[in-house]
């Protein structure tokens, strides 16, 4: 296990400490255990709060999207495991500005049950919540069971849009509706080339032969649709893009946002190869890319691989993506 770490059990607390030391003007920690981070000016009075959360090991997800025009708070779990309902409640109370709180996070059982427990407790505190789940990974379930899909990098679009809506003063129901609208029109699929090693167990998250890739992999190394021989960048882009286009039902005349996301170890150069082919394919179909993002947005520690996300755009959705935002990891000006 070749990692730049100290005691594996301290991994999460220490990197959270590092984030706090680096960005004191943008973030502050809530509670003794510092597993809850909120934007430095939280709570923003009269504004809908947005709380996200989930396991660690995915930076910049989730902690990276706390800031102006994005989420207000995050509850931080151990590597690949949920935060507790108590931590989620703490985040909820810290960001509530009186307009209610949206829970916006990925569809994973552990997270769902813990956020759900927090809903009841928040109600007792008089805080109204709504929940929207990221569930954009088309490889995890067929379209008929889209509600059961897991959430991966595409949740970024929902953070951006819902965060912008909350910032301009939309109500809780409106912000939730916008998040839901974005999620429904977002599809993601990824490929994995090499596994992640969990700091605590030292075990790889999966095994792959030297010439293999896992198509449709999840951001915890969950198996995808099938395991095949490693393909070229163009072939991978074609397979992923075609699948996303079909799933979203988009065609000539549509406009989209595209996110090419690195899973951790894959160089930015390779992400641009994927973007290039994706751009060419969509252009050939008459689908315009009105907004693009290329880089690491949701990782899986040092996993090699990448995912492509597509969001079907409307003028409203595009305006929300274009709205200003600022966090330690993301800026839109």
């Amino acid at each position: 296990m070749k990692k730049i770490i100290n005691e594996p059990k301290d991994f999460v607390d220490e990197f959270v400490d590092g984030i706090l030391l680096a960005h004191p003007a943008l973030l502050k920690a809530i509670g003794q255990d510092r597993r809850v981070l909120v934007r430095a000016d939280a709570p923003v009075s009269g504004k809908v709060g947005i709380v996200t959360g989930g396991g660690s090991g995915h930076l910049p997800l989730f902690k990276g999207y706390v800031g102006r025009g994005l989420c207000d708070g995050v509850a931080i779990g151990n590597v690949f495991s949920s935060p507790s309902s108590a931590q989620i409640l703490e985040a909820t109370k810290a960001v509530d500005g009186g307009a209610g709180v949206l829970y916006l996070y990925g569809n994973y059982g552990g997270d769902v049950f813990n956020f759900d427990l927090s809903i009841d407790m928040a109600e007792l505190e008089g805080i109204r919540t709504r929940t929207v789940l990221g569930r954009d990974d088309v490889a995890s379930q067929p379209k008929e069971r889209a509600a059961d899909r897991r959430g991966v990098a595409g949740i970024f679009f929902a953070y951006k849009a819902a965060g912008a809506a909350a910032e301009r003063g939309d109500s809780l129901d409106e912000v939730a509706a916008i998040a839901e609208d974005i999620i429904e029109h977002t599809a993601t699929m990824g490929v994995g080339l090499s596994p992640t090693i969990l700091p605590t167990t030292g075990k790889p998250s999966f095994e792959l032969a030297d010439d293999e890739m896992e198509i449709g992999i999840g951001i915890h190394g969950e198996p995808g649709i099938h395991r095949g021989t490693l393909e070229t960048a163009d072939e991978i882009a074609e397979h992923l893009t075609e699948r996303l286009v079909t799933d979203l039902g988009i065609s000539a005349g549509d406009r989209v946002a595209v996110l090419v996301n690195g899973l951790g170890a894959t160089p930015l150069e390779e992400l641009y190869l994927l973007y290039r082919r994706t751009h060419q394919i969509l252009e050939a179909k008459g689908i315009a890319i009105a907004k693009n993002y290329v880089g690491e947005y949701a990782t899986s520690l040092e996993m090699a691989g990448a995912s492509i996300s597509i969001l079907t755009l409307t003028d409203d959705r595009l305006a929300l993506l274009d709205a200003p935002a600022e966090s330690p990891f993301f800026r839109e000006v």
């Binding site: 690949f80 495991s81 935060p83 552990g110 049950f113 427990l117 379930q141 915890h220 969950e222």
Partner: protein, 211 residues
């Protein structure tokens, strides 16, 4: 059984239960993300620590409440949240009772399983912990003789684990494996079975005296 006796019995059980952590972790590695072993060992330790803090006059409901809270926060995960919710739901049927009898245990078991079913939107046959829990609760209800009750529950849970092996996972991480989940044994159901077996092994007369 009063609150103190219940607390001791749980502590005895949870001292043995983590011996199954590796097995459960491996099963979860095959079908999920492999963290169930950690959930079980950290959870058991957290519960024991919490129970040691309780005053001996605590009521059974208070004992279970302390367990639920400790288990929920030790290693938050699907199993931790579902089990914590199930313990809360089960203990609610006991109200303020100073002591519990077989009938109350039966009601607890059913309420616990139903809580998971409701929260998890899952039924028997979805290849989850419920495939072991519901049959065990049923077996308890049908067995009157004190000595045989636990054996009957264990046997029912074991049947549930084995039967569900050939099913396709319909809930949680394992469901993403779709038909590749068939033939693999559900870690959650297995955990429930191992818990009952640990209870039996640690609370037979010769060991129950340990405090």
């Amino acid at each position: 059984m009063n609150g103190h006796e219940l607390s001791i019995a749980i502590q005895n059980c949870l001292t043995v239960f983590p011996e199954y952590a590796d097995e459960l972790g491996d099963l979860d590695q095959a079908l999920g993300d492999g963290d169930l072993g950690i959930t079980v060992s950290l959870g058991a330790q957290a519960v024991i620590d919490a129970l040691l803090q309780l005053p001996p006059e605590s009521k059974p409901t208070e004992v279970v409440l302390a367990c639920a809270k400790a288990f929920a926060n030790a290693n938050p995960s699907t199993m931790a949240a579902l089990v914590a919710g199930a313990l809360l739901a089960g203990s609610r049927v006991w109200g303020d009772a100073e002591s519990i009898d077989s009938e109350m245990v039966n009601k607890f078991a059913l309420a616990a399983a139903e809580s998971i079913s409701q929260r998890g939107k899952s039924q028997v046959g979805d290849k989850t912990i419920l495939d072991a829990m519901f049959p065990a609760a049923e077996a308890l209800r049908e067995t009157n003789s004190g000595a045989d009750r636990l054996d009957a529950a264990i046997e029912a849970a074991e049947r549930g684990v084995i039967t569900s092996k050939e099913l396709q996972s319909r809930r949680g991480r394992a469901s993403w494996l779709q038909d590749r989940s068939i033939g693999l044994q559900d870690p959650g159901a297995t955990a429930f079975l191992r818990f009952l077996q640990s209870w039996k092994a640690s609370n037979t007369p010769s060991r129950a005296a340990v405090s």
